[in-house]
Structure formats: structure tokens, C-alpha cells
């Protein structure tokens, strides 16, 4: 993390002052950016702690008049939050597992072997990347009606798994391609076989790519909105994203509960993301180099 020792040479000493100024400036800008990114979520937290009466004040106050911590207890009774959380979690975890199970072998094989149809397959992945559930929601809805899968979690898992697959194949393909094949050949010649070489040698080195793929899929599925809004109907099959906005309707305006439950949905995912931030950069590097 330290600068090269060159900076301490006499020539460097002359440059040290502007360098320190530069660091100070960067720090100031950095923290300003940080505040900018956090501000809406800080506002979310403050609003979730306001009382019902506090929320109707005009103009609104910066801080809650009464810090109503009980909102975070009451919100569990105001709506079946556990059910929504469970749905979100099941869908996100299942979709991630399915995506990975499909993407890993495909990405590995296309990175390691040349075969007829390889180019066509990679093109298909690239084209699929351009489809978003939003653009196809009518088709998805009609398909689920035809398959009798409307209002099931299975439909949500399928959709989330399929639409995140291209990004995962692409990231993992990039990562696998960047790993020298000699490493694997050694294992291969030791009689590990293709699958053995993949699981024992390539996969451990590819952790940044795998982590990026997992986190990307999990978060996309956790936050997916339009398909869940369209395909599910019964309250016990709704994920948080669809359920949370119903705290504020024409008939009621429980902004404090809306944002309390939003925070409950957001905080665990942010923590997950922060843990893997280091891997993320490595994973994205491989994807953008290839």
C-alpha cells in the first residue's frame, strides 16, 4: 500500500507537499461521495424511526421528534413480514443454486475446449444477455399460464435463474480462460479426470469469479420486482419487493413501516456484499478482460 521508495529521495521530498495536498483533497472528495451514496438510506433509517404524527408534518423535520424504535417491533405485526422474507430467501437461494449448476459446466467447457457450436453457444449467451424479464414479462406471464405455474415460487426460481445465467456464464468463462491450462493438465495427467481437475484445481483458483457470479445472481433475484409482481397473487407467495410497497396505498400511508421493512431487506444484503467486495473487483476484471 506504501508508495515506492522513490518518493523519499531528495527529488521526492520536493514533491511531498503537493502529494499530501492531493491525498487530503482525495479524502475529502471520497468522503463526500460516501455521504452522497448513503444519504438516501440514512433518510430511510430516520423515516423508519418517526411516529405516525411526525410523518404528516409539513415541512418534514430532519430528525424524528420522537425516536419511535418500536416501529421495528410493530412492523412484524403490521404485515406477515416473516412470510415475505422466507419467500425472498427461498427464491434467491434456489435461483442462485440453479444458475450456478447450469453456468459452471458451460463456462468451463467453452473456456477449455474448442468444439463445433462453441461460437454459436457464446453468441446465444450474448444475445440472451440482452433480454430482460421486463421486456418479456407478457411472454413469461403467458407461458406460466400455459404451464399452470402462475402463483408458484417455482416460476420465480426458474425466471431468476434463467435471466441471470448469461452474466454468470460470461464472468466465469472469462475467469476460466484466464487460468493457465498447464495447472490443470498436471492434475489431469495425475488421473484426476476432467471433473476432478475442475473441482480440485480450477474452481479454487476461480473463487473471485464464482463469488461474483453468486452474489450477482443472489442480489438480482432478491431484488427482482416485475415478474414477482405479475406472476404471484397470493400473499404467502410474495417476496419482500412486491409486499413492501403495500404499506403505502390510497387507504393507508405507513411510510415508517415501509422503510423499516425495506431496511430489514437491505441491510443483510449490504453486509453480504461488503464481505465479498474484494473478490468482486477480481471477478469483474476477468469478465472485462476477456
Amino acid at each position: 500500500m506504501t508508495r515506492p521508495s522513490k518518493e523519499t529521495s531528495p527529488a521526492g521530498a520536493a514533491r511531498r507537499r503537493p502529494l499530501r495536498l492531493r491525498t487530503a483533497l482525495l479524502t475529502a472528495v471520497g468522503w463526500l461521495v460516501a455521504v452522497g451514496f448513503l444519504l438516501p438510506y440514512l433518510q430511510m433509517a430516520l423515516t423508519s424511526l418517526k411516529s405516525e404524527k411526525d410523518l404528516t408534518k409539513s415541512p418534514g423535520g430532519y430528525l424524528p421528534d420522537h425516536w419511535t424504535w418500536s416501529n421495528f417491533v410493530d412492523v412484524w405485526d403490521a404485515a406477515p413480514l416473516w412470510t415475505y422474507l422466507r419467500v425472498s430467501l427461498i427464491v434467491a437461494v434456489a435461483a442462485t443454486v440453479v444458475t450456478l449448476a447450469c453456468a459452471l459446466p458451460a463456462a468451463y467447457y467453452t473456456a477449455r475446449y474448442r468444439f463445433r457450436g462453441r461460437g454459436a453457444y457464446l453468441l446465444l449467451v450474448l444475445v440472451t444477455q440482452m433480454f430482460a424479464p421486463t421486456a418479456l414479462v407478457i411472454g413469461i406471464y403467458r407461458e406460466m399460464v400455459a404451464l399452470n405455474l402462475t402463483d408458484t415460487l417455482f416460476a420465480l426460481v426458474l425466471v431468476n435463474a434463467a435471466f441471470n445465467l448469461p452474466f454468470c456464464v460470461w464472468i466465469l468463462h472469462g475467469y476460466f480462460s484466464s487460468i493457465p491450462k498447464e495447472l490443470e493438465e498436471a492434475a489431469f495427467l495425475d488421473g484426476a479426470g476432467r471433473v476432478g481437475a475442475l473441482t480440485r484445481v480450477t474452481l479454487p483458483i476461480s473463487m473471485p469469479g464464482v463469488v461474483t457470479a453468486v452474489v450477482y445472481t443472489f442480489i438480482a433475484a432478491w431484488n427482482e420486482y416485475i415478474v414477482a409482481l405479475t406472476v404471484t397473487a397470493s400473499p404467502d407467495r410474495r417476496p419482500l419487493t412486491v409486499a413492501v410497497p403495500s404499506f403505502v396505498t390510497q387507504y393507508q400511508a405507513h411510510w415508517q413501516y415501509l422503510f423499516a421493512s425495506s431496511l430489514i431487506a437491505i441491510v443483510p444484503v449490504v453486509i453480504l456484499f461488503v464481505f465479498v467486495e474484494r473478490y468482486l473487483i477480481g471477478g469483474l476484471t476477468a469478465g472485462s478482460v476477456k
Binding site: 479524502t27 457450436g117 435471466f163
Partner: protein, 315 residues
């Protein structure tokens, strides 16, 4: 890579000197299917089927309860093109995409650079930049909607306290203001991914390239435009293509903040399409809108790839 395969084939050949049997050859031809099969099935069933279904729907007459009543020729398309709102909605969508993607890319180049520089607390700043990516876009849109609230919103409160406005402004009730604010929210949620792709790209640029530039006496501006920016091209392309696709298909922001209203005045193609299907119960026409929407995305991405000379990059 060829090596590994030839070696495997050689190994097979020594084990059995005779010509590989037809069965064996068929087996070899099918090997890719074993590895690619699951993903192909998933893509076919969940992505390609809806595409076909959507195109079919656009030529069908469908009752409000969702029952197919038979073919409808091109009526859905003529109905769609007769909508007075269609042209403004399409133009608004193009402006929406262009405005957001350009702003996002410019800002993310700056933020990526910042996150790549050394300063105390960089780690924490990186974490905060991730937050809008981790948070649901819908929930982020809702907090912005609340901050822009006419009566109790933070934005009005701050502007009132700074004496920049005399009375609260109902931001989301005016189409233009609402549009600009929603574009800002879209930029806000697009920045994390774009900035991190740029940051990842910056980390692949070797230090000695900069050293060489310094030796040659290139100033910071020349170094940036002559070295950093060209080397970042793959990252910029990937970040902006994904951004174009995401922004074009963005639904929750507008849905949560204005619902496309008043009227259709803040609709983009996706919210317009959704309203046609689920509010006006006109599934066929909505299918036609979806097809038009998809052709637009395809055209934009192809134009972009052409401009960026994607082929050379891939090779």
C-alpha cells in the same frame, strides 16, 4: 487448450489402436451437450419460449380474461401505431436511455478513478458505493419518492431552508421535473456496477505504463486521454452495454415514483407496455409493444457495438 484435447484423443488412440467406433464418435460429438445441456434447457424454456410466446401474442386476439380468441392479423400493431401516446413514449424512452447512460458513464469514470486512488478510508468509501447496488431498486425509488414528497419531503425542506424556493414544490406532479428526478435515481442506482467495472478495468493497467508516460513528460491530462481511457475501452463498453440494457428495461423506478403519470406523460416503453396489458387488459397490443420495444433495444445495442467495433475487441 487444443493440447489438452489432442492429448486426450491420443490417450484414447493408444488404448485402442483401431479406428474409433461410430458409437465413440457419436459420444464425442455429444460431450459438449453434457456440459452445455442444462444451460441450454434453461435458456430455451425460460427465455426463448417467452420470446416466441410474446411474438405470437402480438398477432392474437386475447380476451380481457386472458383467453386466446384466435388470430388477429396485424390489428394489434395498427392499434398500437394509432395510439397518440406511442411516439412521445418512444422518444421519451430514447432520451431516458441516452441521458442516463451518458451521465452514468461520465460519473462512473470519475468514481472508478477515485476508488482506485489511495487515501485513508478508501475501503469504506468503496463499501458505500456498493450500497445502491445491493439495495432493491424499488426500495431506493420509494425513498427518493418520499424525499421528493410535496408536504414532508427532505428535498423541499432543504431547499426551503436554503431559501432557494419559497414554497414546497410538488416535484413528481410535473412531467419534466419528475422525469429529470427519475433519471437521476436511475443514474444513482446504475453508478455502483459501472464504477466497479471501471475500477476493475483500472486495476488491469500496469503501473509501468504510467511510469513510461511520466518519463516521456506527459502531463496528467495527456496521460489520462492518451493511456488510461483507451486502455479502459473494454470496461467502458461492457459497463455501458449492460447499462443500456438495464436502463431500457428499467421498470421499478417509474412504476414506484410516478406510475408513468400524470396520464402517460412520464411513461417509457416498458411501463406503457405493462399498462396496456394489465390495466387496459389489451394483452395483444401489449405484445406488439413488447416486440417494438425489443426491436428498439436490439437496434440500439447493434448500433453501439458497431460504433465501438466490438468484433475487433472480441478477437
Amino acid at each position: 487448450m487444443q493440447d489438452l484435447e489432442t492429448r486426450a484423443r491420443d490417450a484414447g488412440a493408444t488404448a485402442r489402436p483401431s479406428r474409433p467406433s461410430a458409437l465413440r464418435r457419436a459420444g464425442r460429438a455429444l460431450t459438449p451437450l453434457v456440459w452445455l445441456g442444462p444451460s441450454l434447457v434453461l435458456i430455451t424454456v425460460v427465455v426463448l419460449w417467452p420470446v416466441v410466446e410474446m411474438v405470437r401474442t402480438s398477432f392474437q386476439k386475447i380476451s380481457s380474461s386472458g383467453v386466446t380468441l384466435g388470430g388477429n392479423g396485424t390489428t394489434n400493431y395498427t392499434d398500437l401505431f394509432d395510439e397518440d401516446d406511442l411516439i412521445p413514449v418512444v422518444l421519451r424512452t430514447l432520451g431516458w436511455v441516452a441521458g442516463i447512460v451518458i451521465t452514468t458513464m461520465v460519473l462512473s469514470l470519475a468514481i472508478g478513478q477515485l476508488l482506485n486512488s489511495r487515501f485513508p478510508g478508501r475501503r469504506i468509501v468503496r463499501w458505500t458505493v456498493i450500497v445502491p447496488w445491493a439495495a432493491s431498486v424499488l426500495m431506493t425509488s420509494l425513498i427518493w419518492k418520499w424525499m421528493l414528497d410535496n408536504y414532508s419531503g427532505l428535498v423541499n425542506r432543504v431547499l426551503l431552508d436554503l431559501h432557494l424556493i419559497d414554497e414546497p414544490v410538488n416535484w413528481l406532479a410535473h412531467p419534466w421535473q419528475a422525469m429529470l428526478w427519475m433519471m437521476w435515481v436511475a443514474v444513482f442506482v446504475s453508478l455502483p456496477f459501472a464504477s466497479f467495472v471501471i475500477l476493475a478495468g483500472l486495476q488491469t493497467i500496469p503501473e509501468d505504463v504510467y511510469e513510461a508516460a511520466r518519463v516521456d513528460g506527459a502531463g496528467p491530462l495527456r496521460t489520462y486521454f492518451g493511456i488510461t481511457l483507451p486502455l479502459l475501452r473494454p470496461s467502458i463498453m461492457i459497463a455501458s452495454i449492460i447499462n443500456v440494457i438495464n436502463v431500457f428495461n428499467s421498470f421499478p423506478i417509474i412504476w414506484a415514483m410516478t406510475g408513468g403519470g400524470p396520464g402517460h406523460s412520464t411513461d417509457t416503453t416498458t411501463t406503457f407496455m405493462y399498462k396496456l396489458a394489465f390495466y387496459d387488459q389489451n394483452v395483444g397490443e401489449s405484445g406488439a409493444m413488447a416486440v417494438v420495444n425489443f426491436v428498439l433495444i436490439l437496434a440500439m445495442v447493434l448500433m453501439y457495438l458497431r460504433a465501438a467495433r466490438w468484433r475487433e475487441e472480441v478477437r
